[in-house]
């Protein structure tokens, strides 16, 4: 197996791995967006900015408090989740009674403010974040070299995605979430405090973005615009998968990451637009998305 369609296997698998890693971030981020959209009906434009904040919290913890990667992996999502709770309670909540477009506008404005503030403070160049010692190095798999940290990112994202899917589709708490997504009034009439559930859902969704930010820090560096570069593709992923579909977000995220990687190998010129071409096609054929239900 020296060449596959005239491509050296090293290059092919290298791009597939890159695609898988991008796909892991797409999956984690679009999962959070899907959970939020399902429950709040808000297209959370602040998602990319909060992903960036997650990465920055990790960097700040390391730089100013000496707290390393593993601590940041817990503390940064927690911090971003708390920021999310505060945003939902003080601002987003006021908009549920008006057109959903206002939620989109509010979160878009928040994203601009947050990114602007970080750019003002830290400039646009990235801050390096070291790979933790335990995940340094790599393994030669024969057909390719696998850096340990990249393997970890893929595995960790997959586990978090599957765990979230399980919690939503198979547990009691998830049943409350699904029911409240469908008919919040009735769930409230059974004695569940739905507004608190809504806040927690938003907090959880953005905490996933914060977690993705920490995972990304050692790979992409920590920079104020890291979120806005990524989030456009992630929105396309959400549209392709179907707004609000949990499984759709995960499968589409990983799938499109891989597809992007393959395009880089076979037709590099198209690799930046392939996701959007697919989005256009899906929207024409199945407007609710691959996994979405028509409402």
């Amino acid at each position: 197996m020296s060449h596959l369609f005239g491509i050296p296997p090293q290059a092919l698998f290298g791009q597939l791995l890159l695609g898988l890693i991008n796909g892991s971030f797409y999956a984690l981020l679009s999962l959070g967006l899907a959970v939020i959209f399902g429950m709040l009906n808000v297209v959370n434009m602040a998602h990319g900015a909060l992903y960036m904040v997650g990465a920055f919290v990790a960097w700040l913890l390391l730089t100013y408090a000496g707290v390393g990667y593993w601590g940041a992996l817990v503390l940064a999502p927690l911090a971003v989740g708390l920021i999310g709770l505060a945003l939902e309670r003080t601002m987003l909540r006021r908009l549920y009674k008006v057109d959903h477009l206002y939620g989109l506008l509010l979160t878009f404005g928040l994203a601009l403010i947050v990114e602007g503030a970080f750019r003002h403070q830290y400039g646009v160049s990235g801050q390096p974040y070291p790979i933790p010692d335990a995940l340094k190095g790599g393994t030669n798999l024969g057909f390719m070299y696998l850096p340990t940290y990249r393997g970890w990112v893929v595995v960790a994202s997959l586990l978090v995605c599957l765990g979230t899917w399980y919690a939503i589709e198979r547990t009691k708490l998830g049943a409350y979430l699904r029911a409240a997504t469908e008919n919040p009034t009735l769930v409230q009439a059974f004695g569940i405090n739905v507004p608190v559930m809504v806040s927690l859902t938003y907090g959880f969704g953005v905490a996933l973005a914060g977690l993705a930010g920490v995972l990304a820090a050692p790979i992409y560096q920590v920079s104020p615009l890291m979120g806005s570069n990524l989030i456009i593709v992630v929105f396309a992923v959400v549209v392709i998968g179907g707004m609000g579909s949990i499984l759709g977000a995960i499968v589409t995220g990983l799938g499109l990451g891989l597809l992007e990687g393959l395009t880089k190998v076979f037709y590099p010129e198209a690799s930046n637009i392939v996701v959007f071409v697919i989005m256009a096609v899906v929207l024409m054929l199945k407007p609710a998305g691959l996994f979405g239900r028509e409402r």
Partner: protein, 240 residues
């Protein structure tokens, strides 16, 4: 049970209840009273305000004035999610079975709010149709089965007052018969029930008293044993 003690305690007292959907004023001074262990119906034409009265009790209709007391506690002004936790179970007119939940998940969704609720096996005895359907998607059940599920899920919670909004609407006579058997069994178990019905022949087989509503308030109260004597009047009220 000796008369005058438990049976006479007012469980639900509504006085001069006004209710609004936004600017639209739809309840105009509803007053009624339900005693412990009673089955009371709300009769009236479409649009008379029966469903709105139930929604006002549950706090779903949030804009309301007057007084709604449950076992002495005022419900107006109370946080909406606390009202069911006092022991009030609501079975909405549209049944509200969740399509993203299985039958089992639908059945166990409402949290237990008090001790003394029915167990799942007891509920299956009451509604044998639901047995063995646990993993079915909730909305794949027939209309009658969905109605049974909507009632069943409240029985687990320990609620002692049940608001049943048109449980027989659109159902076949055999199914209506089954629902009637179940509601009588619940009455025998000591549940207090407020029942909205268009079908007053069904209501007459179950209820102790009937409140007649017209244009957002109660216009008459007829004890079940005087229903026959009041047939003409009732026909005029209901326009049948």
């Amino acid at each position: 049970m000796p008369d005058g003690t438990q049976t006479k305690t007012a469980m639900l007292e509504i006085a001069d209840l006004h209710g609004f959907y936004g600017e639209s004023h739809v309840l105009h001074g509803v007053s009624l009273e339900v005693r412990q262990g009673e089955v009371v119906t709300l009769l009236g034409r479409n649009g008379a305000g029966k469903t709105s009265t139930m929604r006002a009790i549950m706090g779903i209709m949030a804009k309301r004035t007057g007084s709604i007391r449950f076992q002495g506690t005022e419900l107006i002004g109370m946080a909406q999610h606390r009202i069911p936790r006092l022991g009030i179970g609501y079975v909405p007119e549209e049944r509200g079975i969740f399509s993203s939940l299985s039958v089992d998940e639908n059945l166990t969704l409402p949290p237990v709010v008090k001790e003394g609720g029915m167990t799942v096996p007891q509920i299956y005895d009451l509604f044998p149709n639901l047995k063995g359907r646990g993993s079915t998607q909730g909305t794949r059940l027939s209309g009658g089965e969905q109605q049974m599920l909507a009632i069943a899920r409240i029985l687990r919670t320990g609620a002692n007052l049940i608001l049943l909004d048109e449980p027989t609407e659109g159902l076949a006579p055999v199914i209506i018969e089954q629902i009637g058997v179940a509601v009588r069994a619940l009455k025998a178990r000591g549940f207090t029930i407020v029942l909205v019905e268009q079908n007053f022949r069904f209501a007459a087989t179950i209820a102790d008293r009937h409140y007649v509503m017209e244009e957002g308030h109660v216009v008459d109260m007829i004890p079940n044993d005087q229903l026959h004597a009041n047939m003409d009047k009732l026909h005029t009220y209901l326009g049948v």
